[in-house]
Structure formats: structure tokens, C-alpha cells
């Protein structure tokens, strides 16, 4: 019995067979979304459903792009995500670098504080943020969303960057200081150039995190011209009928930007995530 099982497990093809099955599961929503985006509205309501569009059409794409405010939603998403990511990375890099390379009395407590804030559920911060932004007259502004996205990403980014800087060779910094470079100088002349790709990967993670955010903009924004793409998907959900083909087209527009960033930075993200989130 065990022998038969072992023969199956140890067979060269086994990982590929299992992998193909799971890859189908992981890819099925992508496949369904892509196929449906080429269908007409009527065809998405056929029962039994069709798999390949009977008459492939770009109608859903053109509707989502020209009639629904998808370009506006995408612009809002890009704007708020990029700005908040830049702020978080720049502010977080100095903190994380100090915590990693120049520890001081109490720096462990600071680190613990960052870890603790990571465990606070963003859902629980929705109400205080809503009221604070209301008092500051920042509801229904992109600035308000950027402020919230900074909260959302900051503890995570500091923690990931710290783990990343921990693996930075100390000798490099020390020899630069011996050569007469100031400590601040080493940051800009040595650390930043050497770690640029890694920092970029962490920026991609922060960007995707912000891109994914739904409830805060859903609660804080009421005007179509300010909404990000995640909230914008609700444009296609009506009281009576959902425009699945248009939503699929919009979904493709929503996924493509972060997917491109993600696949390009994948190798470094894997390194950064495992260094920061798991190993010391």
C-alpha cells in the first residue's frame, strides 16, 4: 500500500499533474472574466452558460471605457496609490534604516510598536478616520484617501523595509564611513543605489495593497469623479440587473496595472516578503 503511494508521489510527472489541476483552479476566475468580457449582455444571461463567446465583441470594453467613467476611476486609483506609496516609502525608509543599522536604547520597543499597529484591523479605524476627515473637511477629497492609505501601508512598509535592510552588509557602510563619508551620505550614496530594486519591490507591495482598498473610499467618497476603480466596479451592479460583461471588462482594466507591476517585480517581492515577513 505504502509502496504504491510512494511510487505515485515519487513519480517525476506527479508535481506537474497536481500543479496543472491547481493552476486551473487559480486561473479559472481570470479565464471566466476574460471570456465574458467579449460576450454581449444577453449572452451573459444564457442558461446553461456559454463558455466561448458566440460572437466575440468589444462592446463591453468600449462601454466600460467610453460610457462608464472607468478612465476616471483608474486615474483616481493611480493618483492616490502612487502618491501614498511614495510618501510611505520615503518616510518609512529612514525609520527602517535607523532601526536596522543604528539601533538605540528603546529601538526594540519602537519596532514592537510597529508590529502592534500592524495587528490593528483597518476596519476598526474606518469610523475614527471618517470622523477625523469630516472635521478636517477632507471627506470627498483625494487628499483624505491618501491620508488613509498612508495609515494602511505605513506599519507594514516599515516592517518589510527593516527586514530588508537587516540583510544589507554592514561592512559596506563601515568602510564608507572610514573613507570619510558621513552617515547621512552613506544612505544616499551607497544604501539607496544598492537597494533600489528591493525598495522598489516593497513599493509595489504597498501600491497593490492601496489598489486593493475598498471600504475606505466607499465610505469617504460620494462623487463618481473621485472614486477609485475598486468602488467603481459597483457602477455595473444595478438594483435589477448586473452588467457582467462590462464589469468583466472593467475588472480587466482594474487588474492589469497591478498585475504588470507585480509580475515585473515578482522576484524581488518574493525576496522582500520572505525576508521581512518571515525570517529575521
Amino acid at each position: 500500500m505504502r509502496g504504491v503511494l510512494l511510487n505515485i508521489i515519487d513519480h517525476k510527472a506527479t508535481p506537474y499533474v497536481i500543479m496543472v489541476a491547481f493552476a486551473m483552479f487559480m486561473l479559472s476566475p481570470f479565464i471566466w472574466m476574460t471570456l465574458s468580457a467579449f460576450k454581449t449582455h444577453q449572452e451573459t444571461f444564457l442558461s446553461p452558460p456559454t463558455y466561448f463567446p458566440e460572437k466575440p465583441t468589444l462592446e463591453a470594453f468600449s462601454n466600460a471605457w467610453f460610457e462608464a467613467p472607468i478612465p476616471t476611476y483608474l486615474k483616481n486609483s493611480l493618483l492616490t496609490c502612487i502618491i501614498s506609496t511614495l510618501i510611505v516609502i520615503v518616510a518609512g525608509a529612514f525609520t527602517a534604516f535607523a532601526l536596522s543599522q543604528f539601533p538605540y536604547k528603546g529601538s526594540n520597543m519602537v519596532l514592537g510598536l510597529f508590529l502592534f499597529t500592524r495587528t490593528i484591523p483597518p476596519m476598526a479605524m474606518l469610523l475614527p478616520y471618517y470622523l477625523i476627515l469630516m472635521k478636517m473637511n477632507l471627506l470627498n477629497t483625494r487628499t483624505g484617501i491618501v491620508l488613509y492609505l498612508i495609515y494602511l501601508n505605513y506599519p507594514l512598509v516599515v516592517w518589510l523595509l527593516k527586514g530588508f535592510f537587516d540583510s544589507f552588509p554592514k561592512d559596506l557602510i563601515e568602510s564608507a564611513i572610514v573613507d570619510g563619508c558621513s552617515r547621512t551620505g552613506t544612505i544616499f550614496r551607497i544604501v539607496v543605489p544598492v537597494t533600489a530594486t528591493g525598495i522598489g519591490a516593497i513599493a509595489v507591495v504597498a501600491f497593490m495593497w492601496a489598489w486593493n482598498e475598498f471600504f475606505a473610499p466607499f465610505l469617504f467618497l460620494h462623487y463618481d469623479e473621485l472614486k477609485p476603480i475598486t468602488v467603481g466596479l459597483y457602477y455595473f451592479v444595478g438594483d435589477e440587473v448586473t452588467y457582467w460583461n462590462r464589469m468583466s471588462a472593467a475588472g480587466i482594466f482594474a487588474v492589469v496595472p497591478s498585475l504588470i507591476f507585480f509580475l515585473a517585480a515578482q522576484k524581488y517581492i518574493v525576496k522582500g516578503m520572505t525576508a521581512g515577513a518571515v525570517k529575521q
Binding site: 506537474y16 446553461p48 514592537g112 475614527p128 552617515r183 489598489w211 465610505l219 515578482q266
Partner: protein, 293 residues
């Protein structure tokens, strides 16, 4: 040389990290304190805001379905985390053993990472649709079922649906973490065990799993924490909580009080309860992360 060293390294570190610390205090601890303050106020958008002691907490704990909501939240997050964990280990084992094509398959299975959770909920809700979705249709075509599969008809199957949609989006992260842990194990250990006559089942249970357990543990705790507090998938897949409110969890309960019921005092109390629960999970995570090797 002496000039640049006029302050010690540790003082330099403190100065360098202060701006970031201030940012965190302003952005995280201010709203955190504010929500605790709010939870002790009567703030129902009808009468003036006044101090009300533990009234809000009493209202939460005496809600007839509070315990059921907590239980559902645990079911949802445990289900999603369990499904994610098992799938991730299988995927990581396969990727780890592949000689060729590992990079391609890895890219394919981590793609859901780039999909917003809210979209994942929409897509799965549609794929599970009894009449217009492909899952029910395929099950009938292959003869697994005689009639259409309507997961939204029963509480348990509705819960399974949201668990799948949530786990689908979380598998990539844990797969990557698990794979990295597997790859960190020295090949010599496997060579030695082969000399001792161990087979691959022994190897998995006595070498692979124990040595990779800590990173997997930390990754799993992160996933559990995230599932516990995230309701995007539930919100787009079963709006209102589905049949018998079977997917109505703590997060939905909280959001309803902010968005529909407008009782901000009670919402703040629910927020604090949610923070407390996630902190229990988080404490295990922090302990595991900061513990020395």
C-alpha cells in the same frame, strides 16, 4: 572624521527614526485612541454626544446574535486559513520538486495576488451562480450532479463559497512563504536520510515540515488575522449576509453600524471588540516573530 562622529551611532539612529515615529503616532495612535474614546460616548446621530460609560459595550454583548456573529467570524477565517494552508503546502511541494517550468507555474499561481478582493468576490459569486455560472453547469455536464447547484440556498454552502473566494486570493502569499521555507532546508539532510533508508513520506514529516514550521506558522497567523478582519469578499459575494445571515461576520456587523444604522458609539465599541480579537491572534504572531531562534 571626528566631526562626522560628533554624535554616537545610537543617537543618530534615534534622530533618523523620529520623523517616521511621529508619522506613526499621528496616523495610527491618534485614531486608535479616538475610537476607544468614542466607544464610551453615546453617539447615535440623533441625540447630543455625551459620556455613557459601558453602555455601548453592553449593547454589543447583549445583542441576541453577538455570539453567533463571533462564531461565524471564527468559522470563516479558520475555514479560509485552513484551505489556504493545505493548498499552499501542496503547491509549494510541487514547485519545490519541479526541475523545469517552476518559474512559469509560480508566476501563474501567484497571479490572484494582484486581484482586488472585492473583484474576487464578484467573480466567484458569478461563477457559483446556479443558472448563469460555469461551476454548476460543469458539475451537471460531468454528471456529478443531476440538478443545478445553488450554493446560496443553504447557510453551510454559502459559507463555503465565500471561503473559497477569500482563500483563492490568499493562497499566493502563503505559497511563496512556504516555498521559501522549503528551499531554505539543506539538501544534506535529505541525502543523510536517504542513507538511513527514509522514503519521501518520512522526509516530509520528519524533515520538511518540522524545519519549515516556523515561517509557515507566522505566515498562517498573518493570513488568519487578515481573514478575521476582512469582509470585502463577503460584501460583494453575499450582500446583507446571505441566507439566514450565514455570512454576517464581525466586520459586516461593524460596517452596518457605521453605514446603515449610524450608531457611531456602538460601532466604536464593536471596533474595539474587533481590535481585541485580532490582537489575540496578533499576540501569537508577534511572539512568533520576535522570539529568538
Amino acid at each position: 572624521m571626528n566631526k562626522t562622529k560628533s554624535i554616537s551611532n545610537s543617537a543618530y539612529g534615534a534622530i533618523l527614526s523620529i520623523p517616521g515615529l511621529v508619522l506613526m503616532l499621528a496616523w495610527v495612535l491618534v485614531p486608535f485612541t479616538y475610537v476607544i474614546y468614542l466607544s464610551f460616548m453615546r453617539y447615535d446621530n440623533m441625540s447630543p454626544v455625551v459620556f455613557s460609560g459601558f453602555d455601548n459595550y453592553m449593547k454589543v454583548f447583549t445583542d441576541y446574535d453577538f455570539l453567533i456573529i463571533v462564531w461565524r467570524t471564527i468559522t470563516f477565517s479558520a475555514g479560509s486559513t485552513g484551505f489556504t494552508l493545505i493548498t499552499s503546502i501542496i503547491l509549494a511541494l510541487c514547485l519545490n520538486r519541479m526541475i523545469r517550468g517552476s518559474a512559469v507555474f509560480r508566476s501563474l499561481v501567484v497571479m490572484p495576488w494582484a486581484v482586488p478582493l472585492i473583484l474576487s468576490g464578484f467573480l466567484w459569486s458569478w461563477m457559483f451562480h446556479p443558472a448563469f455560472g460555469p461551476i454548476s453547469d460543469l458539475l451537471m455536464k460531468f454528471g456529478v450532479r443531476d440538478e443545478a447547484l445553488n450554493i446560496y440556498k443553504y447557510p453551510s454552502t454559502s459559507m463555503m463559497g465565500v471561503v473559497i473566494a477569500d482563500a483563492w486570493r490568499r493562497i499566493p502569499f502563503l505559497t511563496i512563504v512556504t516555498l521559501a521555507a522549503f528551499q531554505g532546508i539543506l539538501q544534506e539532510l535529505y541525502d543523510a536520510s536517504e542513507v538511513d533508508g527514509a522514503d519521501s513520506i518520512n522526509n516530509f514529516f520528519y524533515i520538511t515540515l518540522p524545519l519549515a514550521s516556523r515561517p509557515i506558522m507566522v505566515g498562517t497567523l498573518i493570513m488568519f488575522m487578515f481573514s478575521f478582519r476582512t469582509i470585502d469578499v463577503i460584501y460583494s459575494m453575499t450582500p446583507g449576509g446571505g441566507i439566514g445571515k450565514c455570512t454576517y461576520v464581525l466586520g459586516t456587523y461593524l460596517f452596518d453600524h457605521i453605514y446603515e444604522i449610524l450608531d457611531f458609539g456602538k460601532a466604536a465599541a464593536i471596533s474595539v471588540v474587533l481590535i481585541f480579537f485580532t490582537f489575540l491572534i496578533g499576540a501569537a504572531f508577534i511572539y512568533n516573530t520576535l522570539r529568538k531562534e
